[in-house]
């Protein structure tokens, strides 16, 4: 999978036609074969743009800041990234006319060890769900499977699981990198930063971290698209996907097989109210 040429062509075309102010893509890292997000305003830098199976980050995150929100942006998205972008569009965080979306039919990206990443192995939607221009051949939606780690955890005893999570939360340093790296954590003022949120205080204790991470994952329940930007950003290398994948599997089972961001104007499982919702549990 190497779409660098196509992306460079599209970027030059967009700048030439004055359709965009910014272009967000990937650039080769200077010290190893990994890539970093790359935001350009000058067409002279276009040759540096690349896209291979090392283009791991979710670039939709770069639409969050105020200065990009109000500019016309050209953006490279993979299948999962496009689902996040879809939710950002639905939740009025991005204006559709402000973003030119280059959707990639993704063949899966690699993890640090050079293997196909877990979320790519389990990917349900490799094709972009929203785009202006598509690169590659779409392969369609795939069957949903419960995450392998979640299945393994479910076989363990409750105490064992509790100890395992305790050890995870102990290592959280509350740097909030997970939040900043998530394209769907765009709140003007995060609940974890508010004075009234006394329950989340207690900074670097494991219970403080538990409250913070649990709250955070519940705010992403039914919205998380499994791009794993948070895990890539975490300096403590916490397996944050466990929280999200657990929520996802419960929601898939109980909310009519709901998967986040797959459809236009779908707000996620918890944010809908419909007359046809079952209400037989209400007294």
């Amino acid at each position: 999978m190497d779409y660098s040429k196509q992306i460079q062509e599209i970027a030059s075309k967009l700048f030439a036609e004055n359709k965009i102010d910014y272009f967000v893509g990937y650039k080769q890292n200077s010290f190893d074969d990994s890539q970093v997000p790359f935001l350009i305003t000058d067409p002279a830098e276009i040759p540096k743009l690349v896209f291979t199976d090392r283009s791991v980050f979710n670039l939709a995150n770069y639409l969050k800041p105020d200065h990009t929100k109000r500019k016309r942006v050209g953006l490279v998205v993979k299948g999962c990234d496009s689902r996040a972008l879809n939710l950002m569009l639905t939740e009025s965080q991005v204006k559709r006319e402000n973003v030119y979306i280059i959707g990639i039919c993704c063949e899966g990206v690699l993890n640090e060890k050079g293997e196909k990443a877990q979320n790519c192995v389990e990917c349900v939607m490799p094709d972009p769900v929203v785009y202006d221009e598509m690169i590659g051949t779409p392969t369609g939606k795939r069957e949903y499977k419960v995450n392998v780690d979640i299945r393994e955890l479910a076989t363990k005893a409750l105490e064992e699981r509790a100890d395992y999570f305790e050890s995870i939360f102990e290592n959280c340093i509350r740097c909030n990198a997970c939040r900043h790296s998530c394209p769907l954590c765009y709140c003007a003022k995060c609940c974890l930063d508010q004075e009234t949120s006394t329950l989340y205080h207690g900074a670097n204790t494991s219970s403080g971290a538990m409250h913070a991470l649990m709250t955070w994952s519940l705010h992403l329940a039914g919205r998380c698209v499994d791009c794993r930007n948070c895990e890539k950003a975490c300096p403590s290398h916490l397996p944050l996907h466990l929280l999200h994948k657990q929520n996802e599997s419960v929601i898939y089972e109980n909310f009519q097989q709901h998967l986040a961001g797959m459809e236009k104007d779908d707000r996620g499982a918890f944010y809908k109210y419909s007359l046809s919702d079952p209400d037989d549990f209400i007294l």
């Binding site: 709140c187 003022k189 995060c190 609940c191 009234t196 944010y271 109210y273």
Partner: protein, 657 residues
């Protein structure tokens, strides 16, 4: 420093029988902020309230906790006591130690006492964070909407309109009149149903304060008490009512014949029809499902013969809007379909009919000109068996409740049968005879004595055919024997059920309904006319099975409620509603999708102080907000606060235990 007063109620033995009230008071006194804690037999009584008022003044209290029954019972009472003592009424907090403790933990008195103390600790902690709130005043639109044009809707509309309040009456079918128009004579006085109903129907049509919209349905209701906006879909009638004179030529000439639902499908009507001769408005409509012109584009005979040119095949459904302040729901009832009674041969034997079919037959204006006949051969029946409780009081096949009117109308049917066919005999199989009502027991006696109807106590187990007769086998429990009756005609007293559209309508209007589909009243005894949604009232069988006198009484009660609501120009509204801190709002608009009252809209605010760039945030319409708190729960950035239930208050409560 907070100074809290705690008042613990015995509620007679209701609370004190289980909870150790003096111990609870001692426990409350240990809380640092509590300046005074008193027990009293009935805090809601006048001396009890006086005690609160005195304590507020003497101890300079900053908030009050009443530990008593549910806030649904007496929150208003105690709020008033606070404001009488010069205190903001919203500084009151109620600890519900009756429903939440003494009633539910009767077997464990110690635990109940501990729980009561915990509930008081929580209430004290919350009350310290309570803020002064002030009632909101909203304007009122003085127009009522009545849904359903049966006797309930007619009576409610007339009573409201007589108080010079404009009414919009919406009826689903082409004419008002409802079920009562189908009846022949009514119990217990045997006066002719149509003779007493049609003058009221005409009054509705000619009343200057009533706007009658027939052949239409309510499709949307938005807003809140005093300020609702309703959308009404006028179904295409294909007849221009403004020019139609109701001459009836079109109905005569129409070649299409379809079953007549007004006569319970016993005879046929045309595809262009008025439901019955006394219909109001007396203008025909075209049944689009059967009209050949509308289906195949051929025919149009009615249009050719119409002198006024009133027929317009291009007419389409029209949606109209009205601003209203209150709603009366009067959707009436349906009858239970007796198909599950296979052992009776329902569906196989033509001579088994339902009570309403019999009613149409004995009606002078009915399909058989007032003479009951056997559907199989058209002969006049001599032996008629009436079977009561078909579907009602039947958990296995039908519904559990008693449909209330069947005992009475079956007695009436026996009398009517005797009047129309004097040499006939009526056999009535019954479970109980329920005749509670003015003149009702006497009426049943009259059926038993005057017409010599044979009342047989017991259920029918089987009906089978023998020649052209139906053999009805049942039990006579009074003699303890199986009896068989040879019948020419069998009439099933089928149960009254809620119209099948009721749940959909209830959801559309935002009122609750029970498992049978009947609309739920706010309180079964003390608020039988109101729904839980302010400004929406119930009349007639939409709430539960009722006879005509009860229905009319309830309809008039609705009118009194509507008039009371519209007595002033503005209404006071509870201030416990949501507010949005738009600094924190990220504009995701999820609160808008979860709000069941459409109370949240968007607004544009500057990006920063003095900035020319704008951003979109959410905004609460305080008139519409009911304070349910859905938006508060859904808001991730905690930008929404519900007055009276702030995060600080709730966290205080949690921390207190």
């Amino acid at each position: 420093m907070a100074r809290v007063g705690v008042f613990v109620c015995f509620c007679g033995a209701n609370i004190a029988g289980v909870v150790d009230v003096p111990a609870v008071v001692q426990e409350a006194k240990k809380i640092k902020e509590v300046k005074i804690a008193i027990e009293y037999k009935y805090v809601c009584s006048d001396p009890g309230q006086q005690m609160i008022r005195d304590a507020i003044v003497q101890n300079r209290l900053t908030s009050v906790v009443v530990a008593a029954c549910s806030p649904r019972m007496h929150e208003k009472t105690f709020r008033k006591a606070l404001s009488d003592a010069g205190m903001n009424p919203y500084l009151l907090e109620i600890a519900n130690i009756r429903e939440h403790s003494s009633w539910v933990h009767q077997k464990d008195k110690k635990a109940a006492t501990e729980k009561a103390s915990d509930l008081i600790r929580m209430a004290v902690a919350k009350s310290i964070a309570n803020e002064q709130l002030h009632e909101i005043s909203v304007p009122v639109t003085k127009r009522a909407l009545v849904i359903g044009g049966g006797i309930a809707g007619i009576q409610a509309a007339l009573d409201i309109a007589d108080a010079r309040i404009p009414v919009t009456l919406v009826e689903k079918s082409p004419s008002i009149g409802g079920r009562m128009a189908q009846l022949d004579e009514t119990f217990p006085t045997l006066d002719c149903s149509q003779c007493i109903l049609t003058p009221k129907m005409v009054d509705v049509a000619s009343h200057p304060y009533i706007e009658l919209i027939p052949y239409s349905e309510v499709i949307e209701l938005q807003g809140y008490v005093g300020n609702y906006k309703v959308k009404i879909k006028k179904k295409a009638s294909y007849v221009d009512f403004s020019t139609c004179t109701g001459c009836g030529t079109c109905t005569q000439k129409c070649p299409v014949k379809v079953p007549n639902e007004f006569n319970m499908n016993i005879d046929k009507r045309k595809a262009i029809y008025t439901p019955f001769p006394q219909a109001v408005p007396n203008k025909p409509v075209i049944d689009a499902e059967h009209c050949t012109m509308l289906l195949k584009g051929k025919c149009g005979i009615c249009a050719k013969f119409c002198e006024k040119g009133s027929i317009n095949f291009k007419m389409v459904d029209e949606v109209i809007e009205r601003e209203i302040g209150a709603v009366v729901i009067a959707t009436g009832y349906d009858l239970w379909d007796p198909k599950p009674y296979e052992e009776y041969g329902v569906g196989r034997y033509k001579d088994i009919i339902t009570s309403l079919e019999f009613e149409r037959m004995v009606s002078a204006s009915g399909p058989t000109n007032g003479v009951p006949v056997r559907p199989s051969d058209g002969k006049v029946p001599k032996n008629v068996v009436f079977i009561k409780c078909i579907g009602s009081r039947d958990e296995a096949k039908g519904i559990e409740y008693c449909s209330k009117i069947c005992c009475m109308y079956t007695a009436k049917h026996a009398i009517l049968l005797h009047h129309k066919v004097p040499d006939s005999h009526a056999y009535i199989f019954y479970m109980d005879i329920r005749a509670a009502g003015k003149g009702y027991e006497e009426f049943v006696k009259r059926a038993q004595v005057e017409t010599a109807a044979t009342y047989l106590r017991g259920r029918v187990s089987k009906i089978y055919k023998k020649g052209d007769k139906l053999m009805v086998r049942g039990e006579d429990a009074q003699i303890g024997q199986v009896v068989e009756v040879e019948a020419d005609l069998v009439v099933l007293a089928t149960a009254v059920i809620a119209p099948k559209d009721n749940p959909a309508l209830a959801r559309l209007l935002g009122v609750s309904y029970d498992k049978y589909g009947y609309m739920s009243e706010a309180h079964p005894k003390l608020r039988p006319v109101e729904t839980a949604k302010a400004g929406i009232f119930l009349a007639g069988c939409t709430q539960a099975p009722k006879d005509i006198p009860d229905t009319v009484a309830q309809a008039s009660a609705c009118a009194a409620k509507v008039c009371g609501l519209f007595a002033g120009d503005t209404m006071k509204k509870d201030p416990m509603i949501s507010t949005i801190n738009n600094e924190f709002c990220s504009g995701c608009q999820n609160c808008i999708t979860v709000c069941p009252y459409q109370a949240i809209v968007t607004e544009e605010i500057p990006l920063g102080y003095g900035s020319k760039e704008m951003r979109t945030v959410a905004k609460i319409n305080e008139g519409v907000c009911q304070g349910c708190g859905s938006c508060v729960a859904i808001c991730r950035s905690m930008a929404i606060t519900l007055a009276g239930f702030t995060d600080t208050q709730i966290i205080n409560e949690i921390v207190a235990i």
